[in-house]
Symmetry: C2
Subunit: 116 residues, 2 copies
DNA sequence: CTGGATCCCGTAGGATACTG
DNA sequence: CAGTATCCTACGGGATCCAG
């Protein structure tokens, strides 16, 4: 692509947001540490594989920490890092916007589809 | 904060955000109406097909309007609706977060990969 | 200039089964 | 409980050609 350096690259960070599950995991950890199964129960529709993959990715990005507590029985807890916390705060307006505009978007879609 | 309920479906709206190109298109229209080729030039790496697809999707959701000027040569302009404008505003904190944390994320990734 | 129509490939991601 | 390992399919998305 050889793009000029002038192009800022929100791409890399927005890929975190653009991920299908990342924001839901971040949101699931917003109120404090959670364990794997707690997280899975709290995120509707996520598969165990995608929860694992997403957690690994967020851990790699320094947004959450993974702590193994014991040998047996296995007990692993996940917790947002400070940076993960600020990410969650940064997404708050977007979340609010989502709730406030869901019905309007539904209406727009219906109208668009009706126009054929 | 973050009341536990709200088991709504942010999924549908977050899918807009989770889209690879939507936020870039919204951003490209933030300063006023733009034409197809202007948008394409402004969004680094987007293909003509994905720009078309993304524009259609955003139009369907009521986030932007498409206006065809019946002159030669063909002239189509896209413009954010008020709702599209508020979406852009809602993403502002996230954009700011991106710029502020890019280097930190790069460092976290490097450290993670080094440990691995 | 603004796209629509095809072709084609890589990968995201779901289902399932197995392990420490 | 908290994953890992496969398998497999759908769809995202790039390249290319064509049309109004």
């Amino acid at each position: 692509m050889t793009s000029p350096a002038a192009a800022c690259r929100p791409r890399e960070v927005l890929d975190i947001v653009a991920d299908k599950w990342s924001l839901f995991v971040v949101r699931g950890l917003a109120d404090g540490p959670r364990r794997f199964t707690e997280l899975k129960r709290g995120i509707d529709g996520i598969s165990q594989r995608m929860l694992t993959v997403t957690l690994r990715s967020l851990e790699r990005d320094g947004l959450l920490t993974r702590t193994v507590h014991n040998i047996m029985p296995p007990h692993v807890s996940y917790e947002l890092t400070p940076m993960g916390g600020t990410l969650h705060e940064a997404t708050a307006p977007l979340m609010r916007w989502s709730f406030e505009n869901l019905s309007r978007i539904d209406a727009a879609r219906a109208a668009y589809d009706a126009r054929g």
